[in-house]
Symmetry: C2
Subunit: 241 residues, 2 copies
Amino acid sequence: MDAPATDRPTNFCDACAIRNRAICGDLDNREIGLLNDIGRRRRLEAGEQLLWEGDEAILVANVIEGVLKLSTQTADGKEQILGLVYPSDFLGRPFGQTTPYGVEALTEAHVCVFERRDFDRFAREHPRLEHKLLERTLAELDRTRRWMLLLGRMNAEQKLATFLIEMVDRLEDKSCALNGLEGPQAVSLPLSRQQIADVLGLTIETVSRQLTKLKKDGLIDLPARREVIILDADELAMRAG
Amino acid sequence: MDAPATDRPTNFCDACAIRNRAICGDLDNREIGLLNDIGRRRRLEAGEQLLWEGDEAILVANVIEGVLKLSTQTADGKEQILGLVYPSDFLGRPFGQTTPYGVEALTEAHVCVFERRDFDRFAREHPRLEHKLLERTLAELDRTRRWMLLLGRMNAEQKLATFLIEMVDRLEDKSCALNGLEGPQAVSLPLSRQQIADVLGLTIETVSRQLTKLKKDGLIDLPARREVIILDADELAMRAG
DNA sequence: CGGCAAATTGATACTTCTCAAACATCGTGG
DNA sequence: CCACGATGTTTGAGAAGTATCAATTTGCCG
């Protein structure tokens, strides 16, 4: 094999797993090349922090692989997870001065990061990208507002049921033979019990008790700490309210 | 006075109070003219509903005057207010199929409404407008996420204190002689006690009790149902956490 | 196998909700 | 102008739900 011309870096985008699902999806090859030039790949360990709340907003990123959390805390240190970010999602605060929340990898993760200034300039010059970003931001705002209903008006059981349904939706292990159209579905949670509590605005004990209750009631099974099997999706949806 | 040429409708934008603060702020006169052609003014009574949750998303609007609420409810009818919308704010779900929340005027209000399809087309053809809309949507997402911390992790006193500080920030009656740099500040709430409860994820009784407590503690005064005077903003900020 | 962190379980306290009643405010019509 | 009813608000008592604190138990990883 001949070595490629080395006067420009490799275009990672060509082989990018999320090439067509991320906000870059509408760009042509020339534009992708330009974007590739200002971005770089970065690998994060589970638990590694990418952005700190309140810091200057220097980075934005596309998630290529893994799950990350966006979170903030009260003055007295109680944490609230503001959102989970999955492959092909965009992350960070373009056109902003400070990062309004911390970003931490929940699993090993791969992201495609950009200096915010570079990204902002590129976006302003490429309306198709800005449009994609707008559509995503609007969708994220809708999702976030729906979560406000959960935080403000649901009880613990409704919160857990809603959470499990959402996780199945997002993470459903499509390779798993268990998952027929009906019948049990398995999920590997990327979150600890404490993190589930921080998503739902509950304590770890309440999360544990509610999961135990759902198990006793036969709606789910808990074969391992981070494994959940949905046995009765209909009843679970009922309890989600 | 001569009648104006009547081959095109009056351009309301010329006299628009929020002309420079709304998303139209970056448009030139020609573009404003085009936008004016697809929009129309509408007056809403307090309590009048503009959009219903789940309906087809047919309208978007700029708020010219008044305050409106965005809200949703649980299956069993408990309401959660998702946000308040003030003059110069944008409202509705562009590029979407359905309206994800109800919109109702809290006070008499004036809005500048567009058919969503018209607006979507106009926005796609005018990247400066789309950029403004993106910046607003990003800011609104930040604000909404901050509210999640309140809903998920604050107790009733912190919620009320945070709410009052936010309302002063937004509504501070600048014409009122009371408002020096320090000292008491007066606010006329556009919300009933029930609506405050629906913003904070509490019951009306808890809101009432917490307000009474803040009054007894000398942090606020409640001269009328919808009037609040902040007597000790520092201590209020302390209790907001 | 042992040590450690995470999760569960239990007992109790506290906050908030629920239901009920009294009270205040506002607008209306006498 | 005041009485009246309607609506919104405050207050009270008790119940329910969740948090807190403490003690185990479980599962994971070296």
